[in-house]
Amino acid sequence: MLGYGAVLVLVALGGTIAVVFVGLSRYLGPRNANAAKLTTYECGVEPVKTARERFPVRFYLVAMLFIVFDIEAVFLYPWALLFRELGLFGLIEMAVFLMVLVVGLIYAWRKGALEWE
């Protein structure tokens, strides 16, 4: 239990410093607010509309498909490394796995998930 004491001290110290610094700047700094100062900070560019914007749902569809095939690719690396040891069984297993993903792709395609407009 005592081994974690140092961590606790560190957390407490960090918190204190943060609070002290923010509090100091608030206490010492001058405050004269105007419209320009209160706008959203966008690296100097004039903000044009509200930040709470709705994205087209297609972004999500594409993103999800991307993730699926991304993971597939990641999964292929360890399989490739152990390919010789897994033998024929490994080959068939991976073929089935890819088949299922292909079916999913075909389905998404036919349902129009890949068409942007």
């Binding site: 079916v103 999913g104 075909i106 389905y107 036919r110």
Partner: protein, 511 residues
């Protein structure tokens, strides 16, 4: 057991998965011919029946004597899955439940016409997930299977996108389910971080204080993670206080799917809880020794308290409902509480009672929802007032509903009575003070529950409809299914021995 050999034991799951893939492919085809209307339910039932027949063929030897091969329990895929009577019993249950769901879905107005293929495909995938969950013997598998079930459930709950309530229910389900999964996953990760193991056996050793991290500290860390995981399991079976999603989701979901949702995930959740607690406490015999070994942590009483609170809250909230679907939702929460009594009782008797009650509950609850679906189809609503005068308008449907309600209330001569009898008997046989108190709470709750079931009866037989309500057509698969289920309810109420034998067999867990 090696992967190649293991595949032999998950043939039902493979069949379900293959049929789901076929269904998705077919639904992606653009040709529309006349066959489409019946081909999807037909194929789904084909897949389910194939899986069921494989299962039954393999287990029938085990239920009624004999012990062929791996039937009495061994682990597959290097311990990810177990194959044992418990898993097989609940697999049969969920496949039957999905079949019933497919049957009562036919012609339901709550399901949009254009996406029948996907609907059935998702049902099969959900069934696959439930099968895996009932056999899961490893936390990773638990998580994967549970998410499979949950994701399909989210989609199917919001299936009727035309209805605001259905969409809302789907969204709420996703959010609450996400939180619950998160909590559970947090528990699992804690566990993995502490012990470097995710198998149930590892948990057992950790709780006994003989794992990687020994002593009181290790026990407490394990306890913490188990409570987090229990929150996830409790969400699946809709036990208080993890049940809050349940009424909204049941009410919003398409009624035929609600029928499955109220039974399937609850069943596999119970199977999971049985296996989980049985594994982490101790294997053979009673649990007494375990409680001593795991540092006097009163797990059973914790479950007992959850059971008492769940059934009380479910029943009391059901008293004031005017929507039959919502009423049945609360009733199903209460039933989760009843079934947890069996888990609390533990031992062979308790587990046997859980299995038995789950089977009985499947029949009567799906039947009740089937009737609600029929009424909804005819009158466009599932409020209590559209049930008025059903006894006159549709005597058969009203009679069938009466049988289900009587059974849900636990009165003889129905299966529900037998189920409750086994649950209470298990508790009483155990016999300690707190177990008797729990039984008392259970009995009191059964009495309270009579009131709201009788309200539906009163509405059907004693009240006159304000307006002209339509009769209920009975020449359709849903009505036939409901009638068959009502026969089963009565039959099992009088002749329950075969089911009791199967339930006893399912409770032979790790002998």
């Amino acid at each position: 057991m090696s992967n190649l050999v293991s595949f032999g034991y998950i043939v039902p799951e493979l069949l379900l998965g293959a049929m789901a893939v076929i269904l998705f492919l077919l639904s992606a085809m653009r040709r529309r011919n006349l066959l489409r209307k019946t081909i999807f339910p037909g194929l789904a039932i084909l897949g389910l029946m194939a899986a069921l027949s494989v299962l039954v063929n393999r287990t029938s030897g085990g239920i009624f004597g004999g012990d062929p091969g791996c039937i009495s329990g061994c682990s597959l895929f290097f311990g990810l899955l177990a194959t044992d009577p418990l898993a097989d019993f609940f697999r049969i249950l969920v496949i039957s439940a999905t079949t019933i769901c497919v049957l009562i879905s036919i012609g339901s107005p709550a399901l949009p016409k254009g996406r029948t293929g996907e609907y059935h495909g998702l049902l099969l995938v959900m069934c696959l997930g439930m099968c895996l969950l009932s056999a899961a013997n490893h936390l990773l598998m638990v998580y994967v299977a549970m998410e499979t079930v949950s994701l399909c459930s989210y989609l199917l709950t919001g299936w009727d996108a035309r209805k605001c309530r259905s969409r809302e229910a789907g969204m709420k389900y996703v959010l609450f389910g996400g939180v619950a999964s998160g909590v559970m996953l947090f528990g699992m990760s804690l566990f993995y971080g502490l012990f470097g193991d995710l198998s149930f056996q590892g948990l057992h050793l950790a709780l006994q204080g003989s794992g990687a991290l020994s002593g009181a500290m290790g026990q407490w860390a394990a306890t913490l993670s188990v409570v987090f995981m229990f929150a996830g399991f409790g969400y699946k079976i809709a036990a208080t206080p993890f049940h809050m999603w349940c009424p909204d989701v049941y009410e919003g979901a398409p009624t035929p799917f609600t029928a499955l949702l109220s039974v399937g995930p609850k069943a596999v959740g119970m199977a999971l809880i049985l296996r989980f607690f049985y594994s982490i406490f101790l294997f053979p015999g009673s649990m007494e020794t375990v409680i001593g070994a795991s540092g006097q942590i009163p797990w059973l009483l914790l479950i007992g308290i959850v059971s008492a609170v769940t059934m009380t809250l479910g029943n009391l909230a059901a008293l004031v409902q005017n929507n039959v679907k919502r009423l049945l939702a609360y009733s199903s929460i209460a039933h989760a509480g009843y079934i947890l009594m069996g888990v609390t009782a533990g031992g062979q008797e308790g587990f046997e009672a859980v299995s038995l009650y789950m089977a009985v509950y499947l029949i009567m609850n799906m039947g009740a929802f089937a009737v609600v679906s029929l009424v909804e189809k005819a009158s466009g609503s599932e409020e209590l007032q559209v049930f008025r005068g059903l006894g006159k308008r549709a005597p058969l449907v009203a009679l069938v509903m009466t049988i289900f309600l009587i059974s849900l209330a636990g009165l003889p001569p129905t299966a529900g009575f037998i189920g409750k009898l086994y649950l209470f008997a298990a508790l009483l046989e155990r016999g300690g003070f707190w177990f008797l108190m729990l039984a008392l709470v259970g009995v009191t709750n059964s009495v309270v529950s009579l009131y709201f079931y009788a309200r539906v009866l009163k509405s059907m037989y004693m009240e006159k409809a304000d307006t002209d309500l339509p009769t209920i057509p009975i020449r359709n698969p849903a009505a036939v299914t409901a009638t068959a289920l009502s026969f089963a309810t009565l039959f099992l109420g009088l002749f329950w021995q075969p089911l009791a034998t199967a339930a006893r067999w399912s409770a032979t867990l790790f002998h």
